[in-house]
């Protein structure tokens, strides 16, 4: 029985729940509540825990920003983890081992990542390969590239002279800068880079014509084509942007590890996809947003952090993560 007095407020709640953003927020709040309940002797209430969570999730979040654009075009980018590995190695190789100036290295690495994304995009847009297949191929190829340019070894600041003795290069300032914290040690630089990536993706999606094209292509590709949307170019932009962000993430990863690991980023594509989906962006394309991805990143980040500070065993951790992902996505789907 609904009284007339409570009816308007209830519809407001219903209307609110219909919004993906609020549902995503509700999932995040639920995870935060778990954190408050299982606070690991108060560790959850320290700012450093939150700062470290934000640092840890940033690389995944950066990948997820690019992934969001691709997924909204009804595509998928499985190559993000491998391209991260390749660009991390390239970044370490050029700056740690060859000692090039950051003014050359950063554009070169960003260019390499974008090239990988554009290659996937070309296969999808020009040659009509299914995104799953095209980016699967790029995933394997980029991992091969990472292993090839590194010779299968981690690229660090130490290298062996021909006589077998080890020499060390000073870790370049750029590495230390990206690995540092700002504002009195309260926020990691990589987190700020993540925020910049979120803003860039938001501008593309919400403020530029390309964003509307991306939505249209994902919603109904044929209708978009008929109404004059440059479908191929839009897809190229989405995959290229994803590749660019992979390179940004690769640079952050290498700086944080202070080395380029050819195995870096393995399975990161799955976390990036989980972040996008938990946020509420539809895998079928046409619907979603970058704000959702930001919330999704926080949800996954807090979940991992809470399990970690409580030193929960690996088996339980995996099962709980699976359950919570399903729960969050089901919650997203509840109608009215």
């Amino acid at each position: 029985m609904t009284t007339s007095a409570s009816a308007p407020s209830e519809t407001r709640v219903r209307r609110a729940l219909r919004s993906s953003a609020l549902r995503a927020l509700a999932a995040l709040l639920f995870v935060l509540l778990i954190g408050v309940l299982f606070n690991a002797d108060g560790a959850f209430f320290q700012w450093s825990t939150h700062r470290d969570m934000l640092r840890h999730i940033s690389v995944f979040g950066i990948l997820a920003c690019g992934m969001t654009l691709v997924i909204i075009t009804a595509g998928i980018d499985l190559a993000v983890g491998s391209v991260l590995g390749f660009t991390a190695v390239l970044f370490a190789l050029l700056s740690l081992q060859l000692g090039w100036s950051p003014w050359v290295v950063v554009p070169a690495v960003l260019g390499a990542g974008t090239a990988c994304g554009l290659a996937s995009g070309t296969l999808v847009a020009r040659f009509r390969l299914q995104p799953f297949i095209a980016t699967l191929a790029m995933m394997v190829f980029a991992r091969g590239l990472a292993k090839w340019i590194s010779g299968g070894r981690k690229i660090s600041s130490a290298f062996q002279a021909p006589d077998g003795a080890f020499q060390y290069r000073e870790v370049p300032g750029l590495f230390r800068a990206i690995n540092s914290k700002l504002f009195g040690g309260n926020i990691a630089v990589v987190t700020l880079i993540f925020v910049v990536c979120v803003l860039a993706a938001w501008i593309i999606l919400a403020r530029l014509r390309t964003g509307r094209h991306i939505m249209a292509v994902g919603g109904n590709e044929e209708a978009a084509r008929l109404s004059g949307v440059p479908v191929g170019r839009t897809k190229l932009i989405a995959y290229g942007f994803s590749g660019l962000l992979c390179a940004v993430a690769g640079i952050c990863q290498a700086a944080q590890e202070q080395q380029g690991d050819p195995e870096a980023g393995a399975t990161y594509e799955l976390t990036a996809i989980a972040i996008v989906v938990i946020g509420g962006t539809n895998l079928m394309g046409g619907r979603g947003g970058i704000g959702l991805t930001l919330i999704g990143a926080m949800t996954i980040g807090y979940l991992e952090k809470i399990l970690s500070i409580n030193a929960v065993g690996e088996a339980t951790r995996l099962m709980l993560t699976g359950l919570i992902i399903v729960g969050a996505v089901l919650f997203q789907r509840v109608r009215k």
Partner: protein
């Protein structure tokens, strides 16, 4: 169709480039051996994967040891972590009639039969690092993770003077090396008065180790030492402590002691110690030479391992005493 033709052309160029890439780094490439003298013996080496730096090092050690013997030609194959692929590699070696096979198996059960078949054909087989079932092979060479873990535990007890708070960052606990490095360590510290305040599975991965260590740092204002099951794990923990400004208060101990990894971290003063998990590459070639010269070799060789600390790293580490 025009586009399809272009696609095929692009793909084949890509594949050709990929193939060219594959053969460049010598330890992971296909054929090796000095080009001058004609090699007398061909050795087939099947590596279970080259994703781990430790296995890249094993191939490099084999390569380096073989370089001094122009009569040897080594053919390297990488099974890319696929037991069935490794199985066919061993069958290929046997069919090609190589003089000796070295195999570092991915898993015991699926590789027992092909190894036994090659052995039955009269081809000597050296099994490296991981075992196969039964005894249808010539020689097994491997190190003992449990013993190394125990030595690390005993060393840590001595280093901390018998008491302290320790964080254990474990390798993948569903893998035997992870289990053995954990069990040996617990055995080594037994009765020593150390307290394990935090333990987590970092799955051998540096970023995971860093994240787990951040959690440990958030929870415990005092940590004396971190024992990680591999050097990348110890390095990840060090990065977390350094970011928190606590790296000078904590000692870091890792396992593996690769020249490009753990030994460097020890030289740089990041790790207090790294315990070597030897690859056995050199010993495999020494044993192979004996077998090819028709000398007798033991059925099983357990590799000795070293501990690297800042005091002994320049002298090449210190051999662990037999327990």
């Amino acid at each position: 169709m025009n586009t399809r033709f272009i696609l095929i052309a692009v793909l084949s160029v890509g594949l050709a480039a990929g193939a060219a890439c594959g053969s460049k780094p010598s330890p992971s490439g296909d054929a090796a051996g000095p080009s001058g003298a004609a090699p007398k013996f061909t050795i087939g080496m099947s590596q279970c994967n080259l994703g781990e730096p430790w296995r890249v090092q094993m191939n490099a050690d084999i390569q380096a040891a073989a370089a001094a013997h122009p009569e040897l030609k080594i053919v390297f194959k990488d099974a890319q972590n696929d037991s069935l692929r490794q199985r066919s590699q061993i069958e290929e070696f046997a069919a090609a009639g190589v003089d000796l096979i070295i195999v570092s198996p991915k898993e015991a059960a699926p590789l027992t039969e092909p190894v036994a078949a090659a052995f039955a054909k009269g081809i000597p087989v050296i099994v490296l690092d991981r075992r196969v079932l039964g005894d249808a092979f010539t020689c097994f060479i491997g190190a003992d993770n449990r013993r190394i873990g125990k030595a690390a535990g005993a060393w840590i007890v001595r280093r901390l003077g018998g008491k302290g708070k320790v964080v254990e960052l474990k390798g993948l606990m569903t893998s035997t090396p992870g289990q053995d490095r954990n069990a040996g360590f617990r055995e080594g510290i037994r009765g020593g008065g150390l307290e394990i305040v935090f333990e987590a599975d970092m799955k051998w991965l540096e970023p995971d180790a860093r994240q787990e260590m951040e959690s440990a740092l958030a929870r415990f204002p005092k940590i004396d030492l971190v024992y990680a099951h591999n050097d990348p794990g110890a390095h990840g923990a060090w990065l977390a402590a350094q970011a928190a400004g606590r790296d000078k208060d904590i000692l870091f101990v890792g396992i593996d002691g690769l020249p490009h990894e753990g030994q460097i971290y020890v030289r740089q003063g990041l790790l207090a110690a790294s315990f070597e998990y030897p690859t056995g590459g050199r010993e495999a070639i020494e044993t192979a030479l004996k077998i090819l010269a028709r000398e007798s070799v033991p059925k099983e060789i357990t590799l000795a391992s070293r501990v690297f600390t800042q005091d002994n790293i320049e002298a090449g580490g210190e051999w662990l005493k037999e327990p």
